[in-house]
């Protein structure tokens, strides 16, 4: 195991803690009915987005799912505009029309926020096709869950990407469950990286609870894809600590199982190792927590101060405004 670099560790801890604390705040705001609709927490899986997004360049594209708070924040979408989006105000990153499941930010090429399982994969394939046809050396990273692997669209997109050697990086967040359905009740082949390799593309599995492992795997994959090596598939083995959504009674898994996984909390793990190696102190973490607390407090204040889009504008953005309707 290589030695840890202090600044690097502090950045990774900050990234993961930002997501964790942001979502913990969301839970309270959901109970307070400030946030509504479906909300899916990433708590426990932060190492995946934190490690993966660092390997991407600003000109690369990202397609994510409804469990995308972390991806949006770490892509650089301001916490304030993400929070405003969940409050349904016009200051939100999707003007309050998308909500938690549909965070968008064209400026950072963050293409959502897609709530149809596997529905984002064809779009990612198309973004990569556009880059390939235009001779741009960009990478499109497409995040989706283990449940998406059973969908026909997964199959069609894996084949298209491999057949056309498209610069797309499939990032499967395998948290072992699709809502209440365990992977082995969903897939005849539960080794998803092996399954992906069957499409003739490079694929491997990574410990999704180890942010450093995620980052290095992702860095290799991004380089390969960017250098014209065709698509890549990474299976990040991770676990969701919270319920699937705010309505899930969690009848399908035992508290012990959850507790066992919490032993591998990606944030605690990195912090422990870093403290042990003496590169990070308790004080460092407290600084980080304080900064994050401030960021979140002002994000909430921003959202609270937000404005509701005028009802007269209801049918805006059904069609582009350039052309007269």
């Amino acid at each position: 195991m290589t030695e840890l670099d202090r600044t690097h560790v502090l950045e990774l801890l900050t990234d993961m803690l930002r997501v964790r604390r942001f979502e913990e705040a969301c839970v309270e705001l959901y109970s307070a009915a400030k946030i509504r609709g479906f909300m899916h927490l990433y708590i426990g899986e932060e190492a995946v987005a934190a490690g993966a997004l660092r390997a991407l360049e600003p000109e690369d594209a990202i397609v994510a799912t409804y469990r995308e708070h972390g991806h949006a924040l770490l892509r650089g979408v301001p916490a304030a505009s993400v929070m405003a989006e969940m409050f349904g105000v016009v200051e939100g990153c999707s003007r309050g029309r998308g909500g938690s499941m549909h965070l968008f930010d064209a400026a950072t090429r963050f293409y959502g926020g897609n709530a149809i399982v596997a529905g984002g994969l064809p779009v990612a394939v198309g973004l990569a096709l556009a880059d390939q046809m235009s001779g741009r050396e960009h990478v499109t990273a497409c995040f989706f869950g283990d449940g998406a692997v059973a969908e026909g669209e997964f199959h069609e997109c894996m084949n298209l990407a491999a057949l056309w050697q498209l610069p797309v990086l499939f990032c499967c967040e395998n948290n072992l469950y699709a809502m209440g359905t365990a992977l082995d009740r969903s897939e005849s082949q539960t080794d998803l990286a092996l399954k992906a390799a069957g499409y003739e593309m490079t694929a491997w599995a990574v410990d999704g609870m180890d942010v450093l492992a995620v980052e290095s795997a992702m860095t290799h994959a991004v380089d390969a894809v960017r250098n014209g090596g065709g698509p890549c598939f990474l299976e990040f083995r991770t676990y969701r600590f919270r319920a699937h959504s705010m309505y899930d009674p969690e009848l399908y898994r035992g508290k012990d199982e959850v507790a066992a996984w919490k032993e591998h909390d990606p944030i605690a793990a990195l912090q422990a190792r870093a403290t042990e190696e003496g590169v990070v102190s308790q004080a460092d973490v407290e600084d980080i927590e304080r900064t994050i607390a401030d960021e979140i407090a002002s994000a909430i204040a921003f959202a609270e101060a937000g404005h509701l889009e005028p009802v007269e504008d209801l049918t805006r953005f059904v069609y582009s405004e350039a052309v007269a309707r």
Binding site: R36, G37, F38, G88, V89, S94, G96, R97, G98, G99, M101, H102, N114, A115, I116, V117, A118, G119, G147, A148, A150, E151, G152, A178, M179, G180, T181, A182, R185, S186, E187, D248, P249, L251, Y252, L308, E309, V311, L314, T315, V318
Partner: protein, 338 residues
């Protein structure tokens, strides 16, 4: 073929729409071992909307069958199983995802009987949640039952009362052809009276939910409660509104509608679908064709705004049919003698 309105003296119990749907499945599963329930998270999770909660314990994982996320695959499997002698109840979590299975529903379930010259009927029941109103945004708020009502070979039901939630499943299972049941998400928690009449539930007719003489309000599914409220508001203004619950969207019960038009001569159709091309258009066109000379004013429609459903609560509510819009529309047709 108007379905009888529950007799007032009928024995009364109260239960939620959700529980009524579950009890109906429980009865069917107990009565006929060919019946089984298949869909995403119907078992261990307890059903996305808790409709099938507890059934796994009673009937086991073979008959309360969790499926992978493969809408086209397991809906098609339901079609094959039905041809193979079973009586499947396939649950598609929501109508939004049913698009992924539409090829199987249209090109197989609805078509096999005719295409085979009468040899392959498909005794399949498909249940799914429909509708908006819970801030689930653009990909989770469709009302597409009107589309399904366009397909020859299917029967389309929209239970809007606890009686219908309790009673429609068995006749649907007894039907030799595919029947789709649309459950509006906003109704699951609705408490209602279960009358004795549920057990004699017909799936072929509309029901007059409130009798009236001045204007006919035609609706179904999730907008029935709003429409009944509107009728109440109108009553306070001295306007007697008749409320028709279509119940069956295919076939449509023209007679019940036309008899009402003959009484009131004025019609407002309430439909949560996007206005253009919604089921409300077909109802309006049929009244045009069969009761034009009865009308004292043009038939009007209260539908959803033609916009992908926004997340923000005030925008979503503005997009959906509401009591005040229904009342206003009724007032307009009443002064609509031009």
């Amino acid at each position: 073929m108007t379905a009888t309105v529950p007799a007032l003296d009928a024995g009364i119990t109260t239960m939620t729409y959700r529980d009524a749907l579950r009890e109906a499945m429980r009865d069917a599963l107990r009565a006929d071992e060919r019946v089984f329930l298949m869909g995403e998270d119907v078992g261990r999770y307890g059903g996305c909307f808790a409709v099938s909660k507890g059934l796994l314990d009673e009937f086991g994982p073979e008959r309360i069958r969790d499926t992978p996320l493969s809408e086209s695959g397991f809906v098609g499997a339901g079609i094959g199983a039905a041809i193979g002698g079973m009586r499947p109840i396939v649950e598609i979590m929501t109508v939004n995802f049913s698009l992924l299975a539409l090829d199987q529903i249209m090109n197989n379930a609805a078509t096999l009987l005719h295409m085979s010259g009468g040899q392959c009927n498909v005794p399949l029941v498909i249940r799914m949640t429909t509708g908006a109103g819970r801030q689930l945004a653009a990909q989770h708020s469709h009302s597409l039952e009107g589309w399904y009502a366009h397909i020859p070979g299917l029967k389309i039901l929209a239970p809007a009362t606890v009686d219908d939630a309790r009673g429609m499943l068995q006749p649907a299972l007894d039907d030799p052809d595919p029947v789709l049941i649309f459950e509006h998400g906003s109704l699951y928690g609705m408490d209602g009276e279960l009358t004795d009449s549920w057990s004699s539930c017909s799936i072929s007719g509309a029901a007059v939910r409130r009798a009236g003489t001045d204007v006919t309000l035609v609706t179904y599914g999730g907008t029935l409660p709003k429409t009944l409220d509107a009728a109440g508001v109108l009553a306070d203004e001295g306007v007697s509104a008749e409320v028709i619950d279509l119940r069956s969207l295919r076939p449509l019960d023209d007679r019940t509608i036309l008899e009402s038009v003959a009484r009131t001569h004025r019609v407002v159709i309430v439909d949560e679908g996007w206005r253009s091309g919604s089921l409300s258009a077909e109802v309006s066109a049929r009244i045009m064709e069969q009761a034009f000379w009865e009308l004292d004013a043009p038939v009007t429609r209260v539908c959803s705004a033609e916009v992908p459903m926004p997340y923000a609560q005030h925008l979503e509510q503005a997009a959906l049919p509401q009591v005040d819009r229904i009342v206003d529309a009724a007032r307009d047709v009443l002064k609509g003698d031009g």
